[in-house]
């Protein structure tokens, strides 16, 4: 194994679980989270020498996932199965959406940008400016999404108002 590949391996071993948790918090589905991580890591591999030198590997991977996830819901309509339905190794089927915690379910009921802002700001502890840069939105938008997102979560969780999984999701997009 080449040196750069060894370094890539070390990074993946150390950070893959965390990266997939980020993806899961964003999409609420372990299968989709795994897809996001796989896509992001493949892109990272290509850009590894430059990004590793800059120490930007994790931020790059996270940004790929956060932004790719934005568009993930855009073109699901054409999926079918005459062939090659899964290009990568399938995950085990034991983790259904029913396993999701109340908080994860509540997060999925937020509009996508609110959800991303709340996760980046208050779980990953990014600053307002960093979050704005990550999502390519203004700092004012970050602030408003943050307060609205946390308020919505408070309402959903305290009222026990979290829907049966995803019932509201397509409408709240």
């Amino acid at each position: 194994m080449r040196r750069s590949e060894t370094e890539f391996a070390t990074f993946v071993a150390a950070r893959r679980p965390h990266l997939r948790r980020i993806a899961y918090a964003l999409c609420g589905d372990w299968h989709q989270a795994e897809d996001l991580v796989q896509t992001a890591l493949a892109k990272l591999y290509v850009a590894w020498p430059r990004l590793h030198k800059q120490g930007a590997e994790e931020a790059y991977t996270r940004r790929i996932m956060v932004r790719a996830n934005i568009d993930e819901s855009r073109r699901p309509w054409r999926r079918e199965s005459p062939g090659l339905d899964h290009h990568d190794r399938a995950m085990d089927a034991d983790h259904s959406e029913d396993d999701r915690s109340e908080l994860i379910q509540a997060l999925q009921q937020l509009p996508p940008m609110q959800r991303k802002v709340v996760v980046l700001r208050h779980w990953l502890d990014l600053s307002v400016e960093q979050t704005a840069g990550e999502l390519d939105i203004s700092t004012g938008t970050v602030k408003s999404h943050t307060s609205r997102g946390l308020a919505a979560l408070h309402r959903l969780l305290s009222a026990g108002d979290v829907d049966a999984v995803g019932a509201e999701r397509t409408r709240s997009l």
């Binding site: 190794r89 390519d136 997009l173």
Partner: protein, 325 residues
């Protein structure tokens, strides 16, 4: 002043940390490396062998009048056109089956999709292979457009579907390599990174199978043919599109004012079969965009990959289906 109560951020972080429960196993590290190597190899090989790209001949179909003839060398096959009439294609696309409307805010409304196309949409482009027809449509008022696919024979695994988008989208342009094109602020631009359903020529295996995972790949690899399809809307200056499929053959898409439909069936080669057996779906080897005068807008020998700064790729003339925000 908004006095609504908000969740304490510290509580949120603590609760989220406790929310993951039992996590599924991670894919093996070797798979991450394999996918990365594949992506890197494809980028390198397509760059170094570009001048050796084989251009074959596929002699089927009837030439469409919608693509400028000046940009169509005789050795490249035209898009095969459906035998169905325009009215029949429009009717098939308007059944409402798996219809979806996507606007710029991510709002999705399945009920509106067909209605927005209006009573008399225009068939912009179409392409056909044995198992399916692809088409793009524009609403009578010009406010919306749609991409559609439907199966040509029963029970062949193809999903009938229609996606409708607003037409009023554009992308910021700047001079890149001498032409007006899109240059992203960074490599993580969502229009560049895309996802599993990125609007690019997409390979599938037309043999129907109920298997999954590695068993499925093994069966797919033995299928005698593969298909590659693509429907999209690119900026209007894209007047003709040539696609070199994984078997090295070149074909034209049906293109009109940036709308495009492409459908191709090729024989499974040992190289493609080997990739399919590994669960990979090779992409197009090369995609060339031409303007109405027959000038090359971009000759992309690594379609879907992000270009370096100041360089062009087909992503520089982005899919307007992905430019809704």
């Amino acid at each position: 002043m908004n006095d609504q109560k908000i969740l304490d951020p510290a509580e949120f972080a603590a609760r989220l940390n406790d929310s993951f429960g039992t996590e599924p196993l991670h894919a093996p590290f070797a798979d991450d490396v394999r996918r990365g190597r594949k992506r890197l190899r494809r980028r390198r090989v397509t760059a170094s062998l570009a001048t050796l790209a084989a251009v074959g001949v596929v002699g089927t179909g009837v030439a469409t009048m919608q693509t400028p003839s000046s940009v169509r060398p005789a050795e490249v096959a035209p898009a095969a056109q459906p035998e169905l009439t325009e009215a029949e294609i429009l009717a098939q696309c308007s059944t409402g089956e798996n219809a979806l409307f996507l606007d710029g805010t991510g709002q999705r409304d399945e009920g509106d999709a067909v209605r927005l196309l209006g009573e008399r949409p225009t068939l912009m482009t179409s392409a056909v292979i044995d198992n399916r027809t692809h088409a793009t449509l524009r609403s009578e008022d010009g406010e919306y457009w749609g991409e559609c696919q439907f199966r040509n024979t029963p029970d062949n695994g193809v999903k009938n579907a229609l996606a409708v988008y607003p037409t009023a989208v554009d992308f910021p342009r700047r001079t890149v390599a001498g032409v007006q094109a899109y240059q992203p602020a960074n490599e993580a631009d969502p229009r560049f990174t895309g996802g599993p359903d990125s609007p690019l020529p997409s390979l599938e295996v037309p043999c129907v199978s109920l298997l999954s995972g590695e068993e499925r790949w093994a069966v797919d690899a033995k299928c005698p043919q593969f298909t590659m399809t693509w429907t999209d809307r690119r900026p209007a200056e894209v007047a003709a599109v040539k696609v070199v499929t994984p078997d090295g053959k070149a074909s034209w898409a049906d293109v009109r004012e940036g709308y495009l439909s492409f459908a191709y069936t090729g024989d499974m080669t040992p190289e493609i079969a080997a990739q399919v057996a590994r669960g990979e779906a090779p992409g197009a080897k090369r995609v060339v965009f031409y303007d109405a005068a027959g000038e090359v807008l971009v000759d992309d020998r690594d379609p879907g990959e992000v270009p370096g700064r100041g360089e062009l790729s087909i992503l520089s003339f982005p899919s307007l289906a992905w430019w809704l925000e």
